[in-house]
């Protein structure tokens, strides 16, 4: 049941959507009479529009109202453009006014709009703007010689950049001949030449007062100027065609002068600053490079370049140690081998061989002696035996038993009596000597006698 009831908010949101999405209510052109208007400075404006039979609430936001070129008044008939929407908190619909013009001057505006469109199409507005010279020597000013404009410009330029020459080209800035005069002065400035900047301007006034600056002839003069043009027409809210064609637009004459010239003290200060910046820049580069150089010099290898060769030195020491120890080892190995060989050599000394040979020789020598001695003694024995035998057989042995041996003078042994003659001299040998005897008688057993 409850679902059948809408909330007020939901309904209001629904209605607001209806307004917002309606194709006709998005952009409405409306004519009516201002009522309930009370100017709220620098704020949104709330009022109503009405005719004989109806009335609608209107709101104009600050940004849109700032563009309005006239002062709206109670009862004034106006032409507005805007859209319809619903303000939810109050549940009221209203027109949100985006543009508002007074009805009645409508034709003038229409002509202006047409000219704007034409010039725009020709490219007068969008053509590249000329750069203002920063340091102008001569500035032409086209304005009324009696207005505040020229005074403000002179004051400002003198204050800021007194070395710039201001040349005033007096012109009518109001009335039916003003446009032609302004255009001809602009042309004159260009013909004379030698100017760096051109300022055109007039003080504030009604839209009709500013009208000459909306004229085509002025627009073309500005556009054809070879000198950069600063336009300062009316108040900030008044935008004329001259403003659109000019290279720069200034809200006030003072602003125009400020655009036209720099401040000399600032230029001088800039130059001084530039000099300082130059010095700082180069100093910084020098410092940077000095730092880089110092850093390189402080690198370990540059600070302690001996590191380049110290490792080598150590390496060499080590190699020498190894060289020495390897060589020493080699010699020691050889020495060991030699000692071993020498020891073995001494063990094999022929001394033993000599001793053995000596022993053997000694035995042989003994045997030689023994054998020889045996030989000799054997022979000796043999000889002795023979000698003894011979001794036994010795005739002398017989004589020792009393036998004698008788020999004659001739020494012939007398074996028989017959060999003896009487008186014969005989030698009788005894065992222990001999006797010389004379045979006295020879007796033979058979009585024989050896007498001769």
């Amino acid at each position: 049941m409850m679902n059948d009831y809408l909330s007020v908010t939901a309904l209001t949101q629904y209605l607001k959507r209806k307004f917002d999405y309606d194709p006709y209510l998005g952009k409405i052109y409306l004519t009516g009479e201002i009522s309930n208007f009370r100017l709220r400075p620098n704020a949104h404006q709330y009022f109503s529009l009405k005719d004989d039979h109806a009335k609608i609430n209107a709101i104009m936001f600050k940004s849109a109202f700032n563009k309005v070129k006239f002062r709206p008044e109670e009862g004034m008939k106006v032409l507005v453009m805007g859209h319809i929407s619903l303000y939810e908190p109050s549940g009221s619909y209203q027109i949100y006014v985006e543009r508002m013009e007074p009805d009645g001057v409508g034709q003038l505006y229409q002509a202006l709009e047409q000219l704007k469109q034409k010039l725009d199409q020709e490219g007068l507005f969008s053509a590249p703007k000329k750069e203002l010279p920063v340091f102008p020597k001569k500035i032409a000013v086209v304005t009324s010689p009696s207005g505040a404009v020229i005074r403000d410009i002179i004051t400002t330029v003198k204050r800021r950049f007194p070395i710039a020459q201001i040349v005033l080209f007096p012109a009518l800035v109001q009335g039916s001949q003003a446009a032609a005069d302004i255009a001809s002065r602009i042309n004159q400035v260009n013909e004379l030449g030698g100017f760096d900047t051109l300022i055109i301007g007039r003080g504030g006034g009604s839209i009709e007062d500013l009208w000459p600056f909306n004229e085509e002839v002025v627009a073309r003069a500005i556009f054809n100027s070879t000198i950069p043009v600063i336009s300062s027409v009316g108040h900030e809210t008044d935008t004329t065609i001259a403003d659109l064609v000019a290279d720069r637009r200034a809200a006030t004459p003072t602003a125009a002068a400020e655009l036209a010239v720099p401040r000399l003290d600032q230029v001088k200060a800039t130059l001084s600053t530039d000099a300082v910046r130059l010095v700082n820049g180069i100093s910084s580069i020098l410092k940077q490079q000095q730092l880089k150089l110092t850093r390189l010099l402080e690198s370990p290898v540059m600070r302690n370049p001996q590191r380049i060769y110290e490792n080598y030195s150590q390496q060499i020491d080590l190699l020498v140690q190894r060289l020495t120890s390897a060589t020493r080892q080699t010699i020691q190995n050889k020495q060991q081998r030699l000692v071993s060989a020498n020891t073995n050599l001494k063990l094999t000394t022929p001394v033993n061989q000599i001793k053995a040979a000596q022993q053997r020789l000694k035995i042989l020598a003994l045997q030689l002696q023994q054998n020889t001695r045996n030989d000799l003694s054997e022979q000796q024995q043999h000889l002795q035996l023979l000698v003894e035998s011979l001794d036994h057989l010795s005739p002398l042995k017989i004589m020792s038993r009393g036998f004698t041996v008788t020999t004659n003078d001739q020494g012939k042994i007398i074996n028989s009596v017959s060999e003896v003659t009487n008186e014969e001299k005989l030698t009788i040998k005894f065992n222990d000597g001999q006797v010389i005897a004379k045979a006295i008688e020879v007796q033979q057993p058979d009585g024989g006698n050896n007498g001769r």
């Binding site: 010279p133 920063v134 340091f135 010689p145 009696s146 020229i150 005074r151 002179i154 003198k158 007194p162 070395i163 710039a164 020459q165 201001i166 040349v167 005033l168 080209f169 007096p170 001809s184 002065r185 004159q188 004379l192 000399l264 230029v267 001088k268 130059l271 530039d274 000099a275 910046r277 130059l278 010095v279 700082n280 820049g281 180069i282 910084s284 580069i285 020098l286 940077q288 490079q289």
Partner: protein, 81 residues
Amino acid sequence: MADSELTFEAKMQQLEEIVRQLEQGNTPLEAAMDQFKKGITLTNELQKTLSQAEETMTKMIDQNGNETDFETSNESDNGNE
């Protein structure tokens, strides 16, 4: 001496360009020195130009090209208004 034929503004621009480049700090040393020298020279020239310039009086040129001093007449004009 071609430089002295340049306008104040051109020189000013050169100077600013030089300052800008030097401040970026990546200019080779010799080039930086050259730029520094040039920058200082420009600074001197510009300073000199400014100091030699004199204050001027406002003039007025009418439709016929006649030139008159404006300010004196200006004040009297003001007085007249």
